[in-house]
Symmetry: C2
Subunit: 201 residues, 2 copies
DNA sequence: CCTATAATGTTAACAAAGTTAACATAAGAA
DNA sequence: TTCTTATGTTAACTTTGTTAACATTATAGG
């Protein structure tokens, strides 16, 4: 009689890893605990994943796909090109606030090395592509010349950086969004600030 | 005869912790290894620090002080108010690239909780204050009304976020600065991008 | 100067983690 | 059926954070 656990242990492990990550973050995700909670031997995960990094990579890819999906949904709902870029920035931060542990896993120090997990790099690039396409469409709508469009990539990087910086500082507790204001509005305000010209409003 | 290690073990431990951090990052900083490298018993650090978080906090405070110092130096060297904000952003990123491990320790997940180490929070606030003062001086030079100046804090947050986002994405390998360009110039370019108005140059 | 007490060391032990080796069983192809 | 591979298991090894129990030094008060 099979005292062995069978079935798709891999998927069960992944799902359980998701649960642990959400509740306790990447540091709380211990292979042994994961195995115990899943009801499987402590060495079983090594049959399905390339050690701890392997599991982290799998979870990170999953998270990145949902992240990109969410960004695409937002992008599809906003008609105006410039508003779309802003909305994406807000959605970016919103995701980080909703799923700080996933966000940290995706971009933080415990993310497995990108060059060791090509699918991970690909998933990350996909998310950035959504932002880049939005920025490019702004540039096109402004009838930019080809020469000017060459900087479109830089403009996308700038948009990405702003959203990323806000997201990081917020989930790390360095920036505390005002309690009496909608998070998205707060973020949109920060994204719209122009540092070189203080005569706004 | 004193087979016991004596002298200011605390300082030696701190210095050694600095070395390890620089070479291997916060994860490589193990208390036992630190003690061994310092030539002291494996439990000795607990006499001088409040466990691992205690040491991390001490190192982080040190790093933050040098970070703030560097920012202040840059701020003092630039006359023009607006250029000063930009230069600070570039210096912010430059520090992150020069000392990625320190930067990660300061802002990342393994930083001990701010509310548990008041001196740590103070050191972090100091660094941000440099940015905030620079932004405020731009606003003042533009003859802002008091009402408008109320948003100065938000403008400082925006400046901070941009620099922070670029720094994070660069040291995490998501943004790769062009090899044929000066790092500061690249950063200044990103900081100056205005997302809502593509008609530049 | 002597002695009680606090500060600073030490060694030894504990539990938890990542990982691997050695072995056991199930499933499928030949 | 039988050989091979995939998938489990248990047991061990190393490292880490932490604490307890004990040893030594420094220092303050008499």
């Amino acid at each position: 009689m099979g005292k062995y656990h069978h079935g798709d242990v891999r998927n069960v492990l992944l799902q359980q890893a998701e649960n642990i990550l959400t509740k306790e973050g990447p540091s709380g995700l211990s292979l042994r605990r994961l195995a115990r909670l899943t009801g499987v031997s402590e060495a079983a995960p090594y049959r399905h994943f390339d050690g701890k990094d392997g599991i982290l990579a799998a979870v990170a890819i999953d998270a990145l796909e949902r992240f990109a999906e969410r960004l695409e949904n937002v992008a599809a709902q906003v008609e105006n090109h410039q508003e779309r870029v802003m909305a994406l920035g807000a959605a970016y931060v919103h995701f980080a606030v909703d799923f700080p542990q996933h966000f940290r896993l995706i971009f933080g120090r415990e993310r497995p090395p990108l060059d060791q997990y090509p699918e991970l790099r690909e998933a990350a690039d996909n998310a950035f592509d959504v932002l880049q396409r939005a920025v490019t469409s702004v540039d096109r709508s402004a009838n930019m010349t080809l020469n000017e469009a060459a900087t479109a990539y830089n403009r996308a990087l700038a948009a990405w950086s702003r959203a990323h910086g806000i997201a990081m500082l917020v989930i790390d507790g360095m920036i505390v969004p005002p309690a009496d204001q909608n998070l998205d509005d707060f973020v949109l305000g920060l994204l719209a600030e122009d540092l070189t010209a203080p005569e706004h409003h």
